[in-house]
Amino acid sequence: MTTTEPRIIPMGLALNEAMDIAMGLDEKVFLLGEDIAEPSGGVYKITKGLSTKYGTHRVRKTPISEAAIIGAAVGAAIAGYKPVAEIMIMDFIAVCLDQITNHAAKIRYMSGGQTTVPMVIRTSAGAGRQFGAQHSEMLEAWAVHTPGLKVVVPSNPADAKGLLISSIFDPDPVLFVEPMLMYWDPQYACDVPVGDNRIPLGKANIVREGKDVTVISYGKQVHDAVKAADILAGEGVSVEVIDLRTLVPLDEATVLASVSKTKRAVVVHEAVTRCGFGAELSSRIHEELFGTLAAPVARVGGQNTPVPYAKNLETAFVPQVADIVAAIKSLNK
């Protein structure tokens, strides 16, 4: 295969490649997490093959001890390693948040810059598989509220790969949120360049240009935003779709330039709306562009409820394409 031909792979494989490349480039990179070594290569198989290639000292199965996992990563990072810790499902960060927020995030600051914590916490997240209230949440807002953490949420395999390599070599702790439903679903597969194609943190992607409304999203919801844009294109509404890719650092310039042009914005995410990242972004847009907007920034997010189990309720919890379409239309009144 030559690199010019498209190479359509799912996000799970792209993430695997990213870790493979990083481990090949730098022996200080190592992985730790529950079940990540062979023969299973992780419950979602994201680390498949890596322990065979790099050894179980660098692809480390751990006890079910999330605080110990993150703590070990913090210490090793200070000592010069670049650990990539896996927390299987995002809701579980609640059992180890102290290590993430009080330690990984604050140590550079508390030491006056003497000790740094270059590590990545990979975690899978999102509803849609009827995993219930304790296995379905998107909790990126907690991390965005925690100075010292960077926060990345890729929306497609190519970005996932490029952003993960950048995150691993970033000098600061990164919470890397992987939309669980996208791992192996071929509908989300895309062309992923071979090799070390990094995507810088803090650079949003204008997925689709438009002139009437800007929809700002990240993760899986970017696809729904594009679908909404498709629907509305048929009705003569031109929708610009921005994929933030990283929430911290935030590419505010790209967002503001777009909204300055369209004068209308919708922020879409799956996380609970109340105090979600949409609130932050909506506030900033209003602060910066007040008086130039044609409508208030709309937020389309998860319902302000735990994630329910029954399929119909779960679907109603998660923002749908129709909700995005409705929100956009409400701004055009």
Binding site: E34, D35, P39, S40, V43, K61, T62, P63, I64, S65, E66, A67, D91, F92, A94, V95, R129, Q130, F131, G132, A133, Q134, H135, Q303, N304, T305, P306, P308, Y309, A310, K311, N312, L313, A316, F317
Partner: protein, 330 residues
């Protein structure tokens, strides 16, 4: 099947009751798996096959007002504690008639009327919560006992440690049942755990700890009986490590490459439920007709529950917003 031959052994009625519970679990599990395999239903399913004797062994000592806390792999505990079959199936299937109106799902089965008070999906988190039930009983001066179930893997998480220590210091009427099936997801216990027997950890809290063959219903009955009696008498908590095996890996669809084939084969060959059945018959504790009748009744009960659940409606969409708070709150 090796059972201890102690004078204070369970009577016939108890033995048959234990078999009935085991059989109910096994039959229900088999139905779930066959319906999942055939595609009739779709859900995340953690089979408890192989672990039936543990739940049966403690449950027969419990009163309806005793509390049980369990985990995602909890079907055996749910059934043993008396969660009704129809509502259980309906909850697994996400129906409005389920124990939790379809809002909790299999990982969160709750049925206070039968004393099944918490099912949690976070490893180890039920342990500190169980202490709260124990504390409530202690404060109220009732002699209710709480049994909390968890896996071998859970014994490595912080909540286990904090919960065990607090229970010991406060002498809470809680029985900690570690269902040691030798694996936490895809990781064998030996790769994750500093001790060979989880029960050794009890000493770190000044708590009695015992390891028992969890596949031996009578041995489990003895261990649970002693621990529950201790708790009921106000003498404090006990850790029981019940050694067992998960026949079907971590969850439905698990390729089980990490489980040595021979090991699993041997465990399944020693399937404790038919072994107990044979032992009951051999030792004249039950007749074939009696057990067959029980089994038929259970099959009918499962048939009925499946039909009930399959014919039940999904929850209404309003249910999304209720039960977040007592009142709907912005």
């Amino acid at each position: 099947m090796a059972t201890t031959n102690r004078p204070d052994s369970p009577d016939r009625e108890t033995l048959v009751q234990m078999y009935e519970i085991q059989s109910k679990i096994k039959t229900t599990d088999e139905r779930f798996r066959s319906m999942l395999t055939s595609g009739q239903i779709q859900l995340i399913y953690y089979s408890p096959r192989g672990q039936e004797c543990i739940s049966a062994g403690y449950a027969v000592h419990l009163r309806p007002d005793d509390y049980v806390v369990t985990i995602y792999r909890g079907l055996h505990d749910h059934l043993a504690k008396g969660v009704p079959m129809r509502e259980l199936w309906a909850e697994f299937l996400g129906r409005s008639t389920g124990t939790c109106k379809g809002k909790g799902g299999p990982m969160h089965i709750t049925h206070p009327d039968s004393g099944l008070v918490v099912t949690t999906g976070i490893v180890g988190s039920g342990i500190p919560i169980a202490n709260g039930f124990g504390l409530a009983a202690q404060l109220s001066g009732t002699d209710q006992v709480t049994v909390v179930n968890f896996g071998d893997g859970a014994s490595n998480i912080g909540a286990f440690h904090e919960g065990m220590n607090m229970a010991a210091v406060w002498k809470l009427p809680v029985v900690f049942v570690c269902q040691n099936n030798l694996y936490g997801e895809h990781t064998p216990m030996s790769m994750s755990t500093g001790v060979e027997y989880i029960s050794e950890r009890a000493a770190a809290y000044g708590m009695p700890g015992v390891t028992v063959n969890g596949n031996d219903p009578v041995a489990m009955w003895h261990a649970a009986g002693e621990a529950i009696a201790r708790a009921r008498a106000g003498e404090g908590p006990t850790l029981i490590e019940a050694r067992t095996y998960r026949f079907y890996g971590h969850l439905m669809g698990d390729a089980m490459e990490y489980m040595p084939k021979e090991e699993r084969k041997a465990a399944m060959a020693a399937d404790p439920v038919p072994a107990f059945r044979a032992w009951l018959l051999e030792n004249g504790h039950a007749t074939e007709a009696q057990l067959a009748e029980i089994e038929d009744k259970i099959v009918a009960m499962v048939d009925d529950a499946v039909e009930f659940a399959m014919n039940s409606p999904e929850p209404s969409l309003d249910e999304l917003y209720t039960d977040v708070y007592e009142e709907i709150t912005k």
